[in-house]
Amino acid sequence: MAADHTPSPSDGMNRRRFLTVLGVAGGGSAVLSGCSTDRIQKLVPYLIQDEDQVPGVATVYASTCTECSAGCGIHVKTREARAIKLEGNPNHPLNHGAICARGQAALQGLYNPARLTGPMARNADGSFSPVTWDDAIQRLTQHVSQAGARTAVISGAGVGTFTDLLEEWTAALGGRVVRHEPFDYEPLRAANRQVFGTDAVPAHDFGSAKYILAFGADFLETWLSPVEHQQGFAQAHGYRDGEMAKFVSLAPRMSLTGMNADEWHPIAPGSEALLALAMANVILSERSGAPADANALRGVLAPYTTERAARETGVGEETVRRLAREFASAKPSLAVAGGVAGQHRGAVEVCAAVNVLNYVAGNIGQTVRFEQQLATADGYAALDSLATAMDAGQVSLLIVHEANPVYTLPRSTGFADKMAKAGFKVSTASVLDETAAQADLILPNHHALERWDDLRPRTGVHSLMQPVMQPVFDTRATGDVLLQVAQAVGGPLAQFTASSFQAYLKDAWRGLAQARGSTDAEQFWVNALGAGGVFDSHAPATPITLAPGAGRVGYSPPEIDGDGELVFAPYPSPMLFDGRGANKPWLLENPDPVTKITWHSWVELHPETAERLNVREGEILRLSSPHGTIEAPAYIYLGMNPGVVATPLGLGHTAYGDYAEGRGVNALDLLGPPNGTGFVPYLSTRVRAETTGRYQKVAKTEGNPRQLGRGIAEAMPLELARRELSVEAAHYAETGAEHHEVNTEREVEAIAGFRESQQLKTQKGGYADEHPRWGMVIDLARCTGCSACVTACYAENNIPTVGQQEVLRGREMSWMRIERYFEGGEEPGEPLEARFVPMLCQHCGNAPCEPVCPVYASYHTPDGLNGQAYNRCVGTRYCANNCPYKVRYYNWFAYNERAFPDPLELQLNPDVTVRARGVMEKCTFCVHRIRGAQNQAKLEDRELADGDVVPACGQACPSQAIVFGDLNDPASRVSEAARNHRRYHVFEDLNVRPSVMYLAKVRHEREA
């Protein structure tokens, strides 16, 4: 029967496709097109083997992530000339080898089924039809020469050599470039201009902070440089040697960042500035040691008393004072503000106030590093003026590059209509998104993994990007397009003589080499390619003093329009970001870390609010503001200010491919126009909420949000952790209950003796001699629940995404899942605590799943793995019933044939079987990586060293919460971690002896 061997998705033709890629890799010049089966003869060229392509051996290229503006370094693992996985670049100064879920999902952007297969031009009837590149470039050339200075460019590309070219190219024409990113950091920059007289956005050093205050900035999710922040946060807040930083979050909604806080205060929306100023006031009036010029602010801050703060923010007066003292006494500390979630019309005030707070606490130059300037886009103002120009018909050629303003700007800005008035519209989108849909000509750009470029995400970081494989489709790097057009147009553009963008880039890097005193530019370039770029050590801190503007800090309640009774707080989805993730199934199915909802939009409201509106979870709510209406199912969430309703951004696409189109709602539809604020005020509308009476079951992967005291996610107070108490002892210490032995001496001995004798009876065959025992320790004090490991697992192990309907039946296949449990929060005044537990196969020593399998498909390997032989599995599913951790996943349908529509199947990892219908599957501890490392060691004729084996989840984890290794080797890192006093097993009473251990979370004693 077909399914006896587990076939690669929809067999035959894909095998050919795969070989085609092989061929192309060798063939070099040939271009791999969509779903061609006509190049089988290209098998031949592999006789002449490409020097860096060895079949069966992975080749890794260093590159740079372009999924957000942070610019993390990545390593692209390719097999047989296909990129199959993205991992962090260990040498990169920003992310040190880690990577987030969004970054890894770039792979599904590369292989996205919705990608344009070639250039397209709009016909008279408004439809698109494919054109040749020559034709396309010829058309563009013609319009460029006509438009000249009336050319405008909207670019979302990160700052780098390409944007340099773009700037010069456009400037040469006399046109203008607007650098637009939906989540620009304009308020932050405005505040810095005001308070410090600099336009820079500084880097933030969370790692060395001992006390962190977040005024709504979701620094672990989407704010500035999340991976870098998470690493720093784990370093500061992760418990080590009796020390850990304290983190207090002040925001109307408990985001993923808020969930990681020791204290979260659901302040009134828009009141952050007042709180910050009040704290600064307390610090200035109570303590000396603030910079001299800060004292000048006493007068300014005087009106912002703790009384007023308490009255208007909802945070107790004592608490405000306490937080201020704690913040000032911990050195260095760090306060952060800004970010979309809290971006109301008073956002600049907030950032300014927080600047002052940091200044008086002496954090500037310590944890706030202006010498490292982050590259950010132009503010909304620039785009707005361009829109006005287009509206006035002053733009006859508009080029949109790596931006989708039609979707990412609130409809009320009327951008789409204004853009429509531009003369000739060109898009370089590689997927037909909302903006491209309005274009007259589409010149699909190479995906970031298919082209040459570099990025300068911040001062001193020059991060290279290189093509890691032949383009999947007939696309062309926009850099090359610009140069070709330049040569065709001549005149003002004649200066651009570079033969290709690659040449242009190398040219630029020659300059870089000279600047760094390198004599051999070629070697410099090669080294840079290998390392992923050039990274300068930090420049010395430039002294920052208060600018006159600092005297103008203040607070006025931000204006929030609309007549509704609830404040609407849209926030960027940690998975879908600004919506660019919406066509990537990995991100759609990776549950939102807070709500655990997948695949659709929802409206979060506080239980009180829900009660007042009389809605249950899943009832479809209609939110209406003067500007629009959205309908989405309700999700009832304790982590809210009762006056607020929240909806994630990123869905509700009208274009952008089958995965995205018509899925969920776009929360921006409710927002009003910015009206003169230089940025988009996201939190600026009141909405009316009413039930529609319709119901839609919420597709969440969570069964029950409470752990019912079963000790799954353990935590202990810092004091007890300092006393090195075990989890059990900490419980007794906390509850005052007294400890009593369950078994008597004799019983304990008898049990041990029995275990001995049983052990002996297992020493047969392959089990007889010495073996490693693979194990894992997960430190819950470091885990932030970011879910990067989940996507890593999907990518590494060819896990199929099952889609909304199957998730509704609880059939998601996530071998690694992040369980999120709530503690407290039910009684008024009782603080709400969230805990995260990464749950994967525990590879039990006494695995309950094994003996119940009638055909030995589930069995124990000599090196302690809980093996699963897919080909032997008949699908009785008894193992899954008997698994206490519920980490076995069953192929109810042929998911392997549904989940990877062409060309997504090219992402599959050839080292891992693609499971057929009707078999059970589960985490293997990345057994292929273990065997790979063992073989490598054998080849190099050496013992396997600790750390040679890193499973995908551990590799990706930005918090380095996951340690993997051999438990039989007492010197290994995992053994050391296993000796930690915080170590515990989940469901220890079951005596299943798991190989996965957890280190209890440590929390500061909470004061409400």
């Binding site: 009876k761 297992t762 047969k764 065959g765 089990y767 094994e850 069995y859 124990h860 000599p862």
Partner: protein, 170 residues
């Protein structure tokens, strides 16, 4: 009915008549009688004085074989392909008892049936006279004998009170 065996067949409505006939015939030295009844009948059994059927031996041997086979199979297979599951011994007795027990019952039952089929065949009755009424409400007694003694047998049966006596002359 291939080449019929010569003999006398008597039919009886009354059970005590049939048993009288059996005893009388036995007294006259006719050891080889075949008695047909529609249901097992104690009085006939007593009259015939059969020893207890050896079919139980089949049951015993079959049962023991099954039990042994069960343990042998499970242990051999576990050791032939040793796989560790759930930290339990490669071959462990308690779970295998179930298999052994079931096989004991299975083989025991099958060999019993075999006994029930084989034993009657040891003494073939092909060609013996038979009458459909014996499976209904009459008792039949067949005495294989040559023409010479037929008269005597018929006499005995009639005296005992048979409702009908027939004679088959081969």
């Amino acid at each position: 009915m291939a080449n019929p065996v010569p003999g006398v067949l008597g039919s009886f409505v009354h059970i005590d008549a049939a048993t009288d006939a059996i005893r009388a015939l036995k007294a006259k030295g006719y050891a080889d009688l075949t008695v047909y009844t529609a249901a097992p009948n104690h009085e006939v059994e007593e009259a015939m004085e059969h020893p207890v059927s050896p079919v139980r031996l089949f049951t015993l041997i079959g049962g023991l074989t099954g039990c042994a086979a069960g343990f042998a199979m499970t242990f051999w297979m576990s050791n032939d392909w040793p796989i560790l599951v759930g930290g339990k011994p490669i071959a462990s007795i308690p779970p295998y008892v179930v298999i052994a027990f079931e096989l004991m019952i299975l083989l025991g039952a099958l060999s019993t049936v075999a006994g029930m089929i084989i034993l009657p065949l040891l003494r073939p009755t092909r060609g013996y006279m038979y009458d459909p009424r014996f499976s209904d409400d009459q008792v039949g007694i067949f005495v294989p004998c040559g023409a010479d003694r037929a008269a005597e047998v018929q006499a005995v049966m009639t005296r005992a009170g048979s409702v009908e006596v027939r004679h088959e002359t081969g």
